[in-house]
């Protein structure tokens, strides 16, 4: 689903369990410096070929069909996803409607429809593997597709730069 063109974070310093590799060298660093380092290392990925909603959904528009998921930043904030309640096929939604629910180990979160349209597909793989939302939020973890009522890309969505700024602002 497109290339990674902007990577704010590359986890070369983390092992598979999320531990910092060769952490010993940081032992004497003060806590503030360490916290800052960890925050920088764990910044989220964003992609320039996508549009974003301020509520942390991403949207890819192709031939009048919008594919929707949640961003890497959002899945990181939610923690492990354990259940996705998808919308019903054929149902219509307007911009901003509650359309789906993601249940993580932490909380239940509403997903809002970023465009107006009709549900034509939901990602059935999430029924047995909801953790795809965590492991591949921009790819195999997509949630649903909408046939857009107006095929023009909506103007209220954020560009990758605007969305990255929003995430940065929410961190502080």
């Amino acid at each position: 689903m497109g290339e990674v063109s902007t990577v704010l974070f590359r986890p070369t310093g983390l092992d598979s369990r999320g531990a910092i590799i060769s952490a010993g060298v940081f032992v004497t660093a003060n806590h503030m410096a360490m916290k800052k380092l960890i925050r920088e290392l764990t910044m989220a990925e964003v992609r320039s070929n996508l549009k974003y909603a301020a509520t942390h959904e991403w949207i890819e528009v192709k031939d009048g069909v919008a594919t929707v998921g949640i961003t890497d930043y959002a899945q990181e904030a939610l923690g492990d996803v354990v259940f996705v309640e998808p919308p019903e096929l054929g149902q219509q939604f307007a911009v901003g409607d509650e359309i789906a629910v993601i249940e993580s180990v932490k909380a239940a979160s509403d997903i809002y429809s970023p465009v107006t349209g009709t549900v034509i597909t939901v990602n059935e793989a999430l029924e047995s593997d909801p953790e795809l939302v965590n492991s591949a939020p921009f790819d195999a973890g997509w949630i649903f597709k909408l046939q857009m009522s107006d095929p023009a890309t909506p103007v209220n969505l954020l560009s990758v730069e605007q969305y990255a700024e929003l995430c940065e602002a929410e961190e502080h």
């Binding site: 999320g18 952490a23 806590h31 259940f83 180990v105 239940a108 965590n134």
Partner: protein
Amino acid sequence: MTRKTSLHSLHLLAGAKMVDFGGWDMPIHYGSQLQEHNTVRQSVGMFDVSHMMVLDISGPEAEAFLRYSLANDVGLLRDSGKAMYSAMLNEAGGIIDDVIVYANRPDFIMVVNCSRRAVDLAWLAQLVAGFDCQIKERADLSIIALQGPKALQTFNAAATEQQSRAVAALKSYQGCYSEDWYLARTGYTGERGLEIILPHQAAVELWQRLLKLQVSAIGLGARDTLRLEAGMNLWGNEMDESITPLEANMSRTVVWDDHEFVGRAALIEQADQGIDRQLIGIIMQVKGVLRAHYPVYEESNCVGEITSGAFSPTLQRGIGMARILPSSGPLSVEIRGKKVPVDQVKLPFVRNGRGVYSLV
């Protein structure tokens, strides 16, 4: 001022997500709470639980004091080091805290919840007047819990020969001193394992040795889902000062005979009159997640609410505990405005890595 355990900087180095927990800056997870949960069920994991308070209860009347202070009867602890779970009650029978006591006669160790530290200390100080007994907070000690089917062999790989021998001699729910460490076959996960009470510097060294052995650190998030699967109560969720042990599925931990204890009269009166609310286990019939405070229904009547709820990684379903009026009909839980049927189960949900619950 947020308090930090001796292992705090090691949690930061591991990239843990930290949260405030009862005034302590503690790791909620180190990347994936689900993975941590499954690691404990399938292999072994280590927990920093140094935020819990360790008390030395000593003196000639230590036993008499604890028999008066606790609803369970430490007089029944025969073997040295044997552990006991008990509620500590107020006069009305409400639960001030739930504690673990280890008998090392004439002295005892008591471990209490961090969130109840100040309340417990004030309460115990008031009760202890009149007993020839001293209570000492051991702020010089950390606690590491090592839990999972491989916990004991993992400990042996990290321990001295003397410590390994000490652990090998322990039965389940028993502890012993090994020099200045206290080693106990107890835990809060429903798995085999150890809780190790030891000086701060030793805790840092043990944690680092276990890291070298590839033992995963487990955060408080997984600790909560593990204890819920194990059917164990959490103070503040299943218990508080207005809830008695009879209303918290803890009747088995109350010993009525042969010892007078604070709250006994109130409990006897309640038992005579019959309890009007009970704590039960519930499980969803379809996929989903139960959460604390969701209302529980019998037909169209709201009969109570969920006290703790989660997605069970072991059972792959929503599970919870709920406090409800005595009811016999089929139950449902309201999730986002929709009533979803649930089954009542006999706790625990999970023991030693496997689902063991039966439908009621």
